[in-house]
């Protein structure tokens, strides 16, 4: 029976498996999870490369998310091997049969010149702001860092762009670009929730900037009050990781698609019409591009465009947030994206259908004999004309 701390530590160490730096480094290279159980201020000074930080007080509640297989090896460390020894006991009580104590801790690891890094830290304000993300093992601090490092370009600050922009800003997407040449008007208010009645008449990109900055000061906002053209599209897209298509016309949709294919950027696609919406992600070669699905735009007299046909005000919220969800998943690298799947939504019947999309090997944009320049492509705006196809 231990009578003081030193006795208890010696006894605990004698009952667990302790490993040295060389053994640990071999395991680290094999991908064995490393758990850092020190305090926040210690971790901020540096941690073992690839390790996951779980404060000792949260070890029991969070370990299963990081190391779900209780028979697989897991390495636990602290500064000198004492706190981690007790942590091993806690893991054994949870059923872990192969939890290993790094006997020299981080201090010995660091002076042995083994791989470590200084984690980018969050301010106390950011820790509170993103705390619900930190609690998700699929996001966590590393994921939040990815979001803050991600640059998303929103094409269209209207029906689809508005709700998505608000949530992407709230989620901490670090850079949001806004492309729209339009001004806010009163007919937008029914659905374009990034704008407000007192901002009618203001450029949409400026109105959306105000909305973003009032939600999250972490976000850098770039505005482009212009219409996309083949002269400017590649330059604008080049500075972004993910392109969000929330436009209202076929010319822009084909232009966005083609530029995304040329620059190998994921294209988060959504469209709405009356009570129905579609959403997917185009990112060949994992899936098709927009031209694989719709090789040509409809002729003008058949082009459904919701400017004339109307749209249920909440519908762009539903579709825009599906697009925002896909954007976040791609930024984080989690889950299964809508690449190769079209989600078709009918608000009147509250039904979703999933349609399988395939690449077209003969696609002029992403197929075997692909176009390598936008110069020779005609982008004719067939929207906003006579929607005979759409007229009821």
């Amino acid at each position: 029976m231990a009578t003081n701390y030193r006795d208890l530590l010696d006894k605990t160490r004698s009952e667990i498996v302790n490993i040295d730096n060389d053994q640990a480094e071999r395991l680290r290279r094999e991908g064995v999870p490393f758990i850092d159980v020190r305090e926040q201020d210690e971790v901020e000074q540096g941690m073992i490369d690839g390790a996951t930080y779980i404060p000792r007080s949260f070890l029991e509640s969070r370990i299963e998310n990081v190391a779900p297989d209780k028979d697989a090896p897991v390495v636990v460390y602290c500064a000198g091997g004492a706190r981690s020894a007790f942590a091993i006991k806690a893991l054994e009580a949870l059923g872990y049969s192969n939890a290993l104590n790094l006997s020299g801790g981080f201090n010995s690891w660091k002076i042995s010149d083994l791989p470590w890094r200084v984690p980018q830290s969050f301010t106390p304000e950011q820790r509170r702001r993103y705390s619900r993300h930190f609690l998700l093992p699929e996001v966590g601090e590393a994921g939040q860092r990815k979001l803050l490092d991600t640059k998303v370009l929103m094409i269209g600050a209207g029906g689809l762009g508005s709700p998505a922009t608000l949530y992407l800003a709230a989620a901490g997407i670090g850079t949001i670009g806004l492309v729209d040449d339009d001004l806010v008007d009163d007919s937008n208010m029914q659905r374009q929730v990034a704008h407000t009645t007192d901002r009618i008449g203001m450029p949409k990109v400026e109105s959306a900037r105000i909305a973003i900055e009032s939600i999250n000061p972490d976000v850098v906002v770039n505005t482009y009050q212009t219409r996309l053209s083949k002269e400017n599209v590649l330059d604008i897209f080049a500075g972004y990781d993910i392109i969000f298509d929330g436009t209202d016309n076929f010319a822009s949709r084909y232009l966005i698609n083609d530029a995304c294919v040329l620059l190998d950027k994921p294209n988060i696609h959504g469209s709405i019409f009356r009570f129905e919406g579609q959403a997917t992600v185009f990112h060949p070669p994992a899936g098709p591009c927009y031209r694989c699905l719709f090789p040509d735009p409809p002729p003008p007299e058949l082009a459904p465009n919701c400017a004339e046909a109307g749209v249920l005000g909440v519908l762009p919220g539903t579709i825009g947030l599906i697009q925002a969800t896909e954007t976040i998943k791609i930024a984080l690298g989690i889950g299964e994206s809508l690449v190769g799947r079209l989600l078709a939504y009918d608000a009147l019947y509250q039904e979703f259908r999933e349609l399988k999309l395939d690449r077209d090997p003969a696609c002029p944009m992403c197929g075997d004999n692909r176009i390598t320049s936008l110069d020779d492509i005609e982008y004719t705006d067939v929207g906003c004309l006579i929607p005979a196809f759409a007229a009821d």
Partner: protein, 98 residues
């Protein structure tokens, strides 16, 4: 109209003016081509919106049988049977509307 079996056809909003506003209609036929002929018999004018004069599906429309694009199957010759669900998905542009 063929009586080989009832197939559910999902009519997209832009085509509902032909179906009296119905978003789901039943039609018969053993192939997509027959199904579209059946739709035309019930809802005159709808055929031209889905297929070209030569009978091939228009390039801004996709037709799916149980979630599979018929372009990857046998096109308008793709077989259908009772209980199948056929979706007609046209290109839509709406999003950021001034």
């Amino acid at each position: 109209m063929s009586t080989t079996g009832t197939v559910t056809v999902l009519i997209p909003a832009p085509l509902r003016r032909f179906t009296g506003g119905e978003s789901k209609v039943s039609s018969g036929g053993s192939s997509i081509a027959e199904l579209i002929d059946g739709l035309e018999a019930s809802y005159p004018g709808i055929r031209d919106k889905i297929v070209e004069d030569d009978g091939e599906i228009r390039r801004f429309v996709n037709v799916f049988v149980n979630g599979q694009n018929v372009r990857k199957l046998d096109g308008v010759a793709t077989q259908v049977k009772a209980g199948d669900e056929v979706g007609i998905v046209p290109a839509m542009a709406g999003g950021s509307v001034a």
